[in-house]
Amino acid sequence: MAHDSNDKDTSPALAAADAHTDHVEHPEWPIYWKVGLFLTLITVGEVWAYYVPSFVASKLFVPILLIMSGVKFATVVLFYMHLRYDHKLFRALFTGPLLIAMATLMGLMFLFSKISA
């Protein structure tokens, strides 16, 4: 939302070339299948972790799982949702709200002492 110049439009207007084909080239199968494989592997990793009692017991369990799903989340958003390729405006439209949402969630977790500083 913040645009910090009086005379020059930092809004994406200039970046975009032409109304008729406004989206840039998206990747193809060669990338997509690798991404898919990557996601599958992490998922397998997650489930596997769930079945290792010693690991579940360790205090690494939760953080690691969170990181893994975070990576999956990011991968899908960047590649399948093309945020990596598409207009930077879309990145702003998504990450802004996402951050506020996560901050709110964290705040609630603290307030209900689900996690403590």
Partner: protein, 235 residues
Amino acid sequence: MANHVAHASHHYTSTGLDSKKIAIWTFIGSECMLFASLISTYLIYKGRSVIGPYPHEWWCASTNTTSLTRIANCPADQLFKPILNIPVTSVSTFVLLCSSLAMVLALAAVENRNRPMPPNAGAWQKALRSSKLWLWMTCIMGATFLGFQAYEFTSFVHEGLSIRKNLFGSSFFTLTGFHGTHVTVGVIWLGSLLAIDYKRGLGPKDALQVDIAALYWHFVDVVWIAIFTLIYLIK
């Protein structure tokens, strides 16, 4: 509308982007808050139910006691096993992931509809150009996911967890139910695209329509990634 090629000269857009695509991203941003609230509620109420059954523990109704392992000397009809069924859900999670892959391939197919097929194109390359195929795949896998969820819900009810039973039941069914509803809408949406595809074929000029549906679909998938970890795996 701004995205109607025909009217582009009447509808100058300041970013050169399609209004619908901006709208769908804004909508997705809003959905983030929606699911954040649902997930927060589930986590807040986690372990607060006064009676079972519970997601990860065994529960003995007669004594209202729980443990991570089967409770001995609890009458069989009083013993409730941990509700969440990780193997089944892992499969359905995988199915939903694959549907995302099919979805991007469908979009790619639509975008490349008019590209000349290389002469020596193999069956696979031809398949990659078939938007119908990949839209079908996506729909089917989405439907499969819903099937899994239906199975999950019914079996949970049989195992004694209803949406009225306890805080876990209420927050779990509501959260996953909301997600399921989103998937259902997605399947219908993709179905309508398929219909159009059969009617007149989807080409590059429809890429935006498909792209928008795809964004929605992937977001629903992304939400499930979070749910699977936060609700199912973390004890």
